[in-house]
């Protein structure tokens, strides 16, 4: 649990972060979003004291982080940055094992943990372990960056535009992987980005900042339905509804019962597809509903009414969609 209390950072005449209050519950994915210069990175870096606040406090599980030894604090938080910051003089194995080494783990335990983590981020330990960072693609390097941050199993992850420097295709794949990874590891995450799609896709809660001031801190659904002010409304623009539909899968929303077999031929959509993909299929096919299927099994039907229902009640928790989710909605 991270509790940020009236946190402020002033540089001479500039107030980079202005009295921000923010709670991130355990296991929650909080995205700090805002235009450049909004103070999101400064806010993030005050959490692990890379930047010391002018005033205010950050509590980690109820303890004031200012009272902890700064190295101890940082070792309890995974840290991922935009250009990975992998150490070019070390192999991937050594990079991933950095924090466990700092914590004095024995070699066997570190080795086992590194294998486990490389597997977790989808990199074969035998192939990638002995490589150097400059032998990796941008996407691979960023996966290693995430693995390294998770190495000592810290309860908290701080991520500063981790996918900002990779190409759009890789970025999308990394985002989906991140979502699936978070479903597995359930870390308390603070994630900085200026990419609205990325924020809406990944966040349980979005903290929208402007000139160091927190504008709204809520689920993307709430921001869509009840924007706190004109800035929030304008920042997300017209597309927020569609972006929110991309957050949810058919498998996570209530469906209508399927019509009796044979009475109607409806297009089929896999349950792992997002609501946005289902909507595209509905509009594209002109049908009144689509059949939601898991392989050959029909789970139910999904029409406009079901879509409206799904969006109006939604708890706001973003669900990791299945592997087929990005591949297109038709079956």
């Amino acid at each position: 649990m991270i509790e940020i209390r009236s946190l402020t950072k002033r540089y001479d005449s500039l107030t980079a972060v202005d009295s921000v209050d923010l709670d991130v519950a355990d296991g929650q994915f909080a995205v700090l979003l805002g235009p450049s210069g909004s103070g999101k990175t400064t806010l993030l870096r005050m959490v692990n004291r890379m930047i010391e606040p002018t005033s205010g406090t950050v509590l980690l599980d109820g303890r004031d982080t200012a009272e902890l030894k700064v190295e101890t604090l940082r070792r309890s938080m995974g840290y991922v940055i935009q250009n990975t910051g992998l150490f070019p003089n070390m192999t991937i194995r050594k990079n991933v094992g950095t924090v466990p080494r700092l914590l004095g783990w024995d070699k066997k335990r570190i080795d086992a943990r590194v294998d486990e983590l490389l597997d977790l981020v989808g990199l074969d330990p035998d192939t990638y372990g002995p490589k150097r960072p400059d032998q990796l693609s941008g996407g691979e390097a960023q996966r290693v960056g995430v693995a390294r941050a998770l190495a000592a199993d810290p309860p908290v992850l701080l991520m500063d535009e981790p996918f900002g420097a990779v190409d759009p295709l890789t970025r999308e794949r990394l985002q989906q992987e991140m979502k699936r990874l978070q479903a597995k590891v359930k870390k308390t995450i603070l994630f900085v980005t200026h990419d609205i799609d990325e924020a809406v896709l990944l966040a349980d809660r979005i903290a929208l900042l402007k000139s160091g001031v927190l504008q709204q801190y809520s689920t993307p659904e709430q921001m869509w339905r009840e924007p706190a002010n004109e800035f929030v409304r304008g920042f997300f623009g017209e597309n927020l509804g569609l972006r929110i539909m991309a957050r949810h899968c058919l498998s996570s929303v209530p469906l209508d019962p399927a019509p009796p077999a044979g009475t109607e031929t409806l297009p089929r959509v896999p349950a792992s597809a997002t609501l946005k993909e289902a909507l595209a299929e509905l509009v594209g096919s002109g049908a009144s509903a689509v059949l939601v299927v898991d392989g050959d099994r029909v789970l139910g039907s999904f029409g406009f009414e079901a879509l409206v229902r799904a969006l109006s009640d939604g708890s706001g928790d973003s669900i990791a969609c299945g592997p087929g989710a990005t591949a297109g909605g038709t079956a």
């Binding site: 692990n48 890379m50 700064v70 190295e71 101890t72 604090l73 940082r74 070792r75 840290y79 940055i81 935009q82 250009n83 990975t84 910051g85 992998l86 150490f87 070019p88 003089n89 950095t98 924090v99 700092l102 390294r148 941050a149 701080l158």
Partner: protein
């Protein structure tokens, strides 16, 4: 892989050849004398009579080793000072004092030092140290400052102490640049130390100086050839084969 191995073989063959040449000239007095008389047929005598080449070489190596060791310690210390939180305001001052030291001709430093500390090795060592501190300071500063900001940031953010960050990230990443400075210094020192003959410090400069006064080119070659191979040998020893590949590729 195969080109890598070829490069490695070539690298070590070169080093072995230079080492063999240096040792042969130093210790096979008669053989080297035959070479010199072949190169300079009318020279008489062929070899510098005052001291055998092995002793001159020992003096040369001593001068270079002492001066380089002192310059390395002082230069690295000043470089570290320029990078430290305390010394950061003086970074530019330290670098320019280093540059200034290099602008004064080393012969002048030796000449000025003799009235103060007498003839012999001391004025030479002083001159060489002053002269070679700059490449060390510059390369230590450039090497450490050249470490990627991202790696530095990540090291800090992962909870490394300043010492751990320096030893496991900054220093290893700066090493190639620092080694470059050391290499530079050694090569400069091997040739500059021959000037020590002027202030009676011995070394390979003795036959060169004598050859100059006595119009004996064989003496000059006797001092110069081993000095050249020694400098080349040190240069090659501190050049990694991988670095050569990078040099060629870029």
């Amino acid at each position: 892989m195969r080109t890598g191995r070829t490069r490695l073989v070539l690298h070590w063959t070169g080093i072995a050849a230079l080492a063999a040449a240096t040792l042969w000239m130093t210790f096979d007095t008669e053989g080297f004398a035959r070479l010199l008389s072949a190169l300079v047929p009318d020279a008489d005598p062929v070899l510098y009579p005052t001291k055998p080449l092995s002793q001159l070489m020992a003096e040369q190596v001593f001068l270079v080793a002492v001066a380089s060791a002192i310059a390395l310690v002082v230069g690295a210390g000043l470089g570290a000072l320029a990078l430290s939180r305390v010394g950061r305001p003086f970074r530019d001052l330290i670098v320019s004092v280093g540059s200034l030291a290099q602008t004064v001709p080393s012969v002048a430093i030796m000449a000025l030092a003799v009235p103060l500390i007498g003839y012999g090795a001391e004025p030479v060592v002083l001159a060489l140290v002053l002269y070679s501190i700059l490449p060390i300071i510059l390369n230590v500063v450039a090497g450490i400052e050249g470490v990627s900001a991202d790696a530095y940031d990540a090291a800090t953010g992962m909870g490394m102490s300043a010492g751990q960050r320096f030893l496991s990230v900054q220093l290893p990443l700066a090493m190639p640049v620092i080694i470059g400075g050391v290499k530079n210094m050694l090569v400069i020192n091997v040739s500059a130390a021959t000037m020590g003959a002027v202030v009676a410090a011995g070394g390979l400069g003795m036959p060169i100086l004598a050859g100059f006064y006595e119009y004996n080119d064989a003496f000059i070659l006797e001092g110069a050839l081993p000095a050249i191979t020694l400098a080349l040998l040190l240069d090659r020893l501190l050049t990694s084969p991988g670095e050569l590949a990078v040099e060629r590729a870029s």
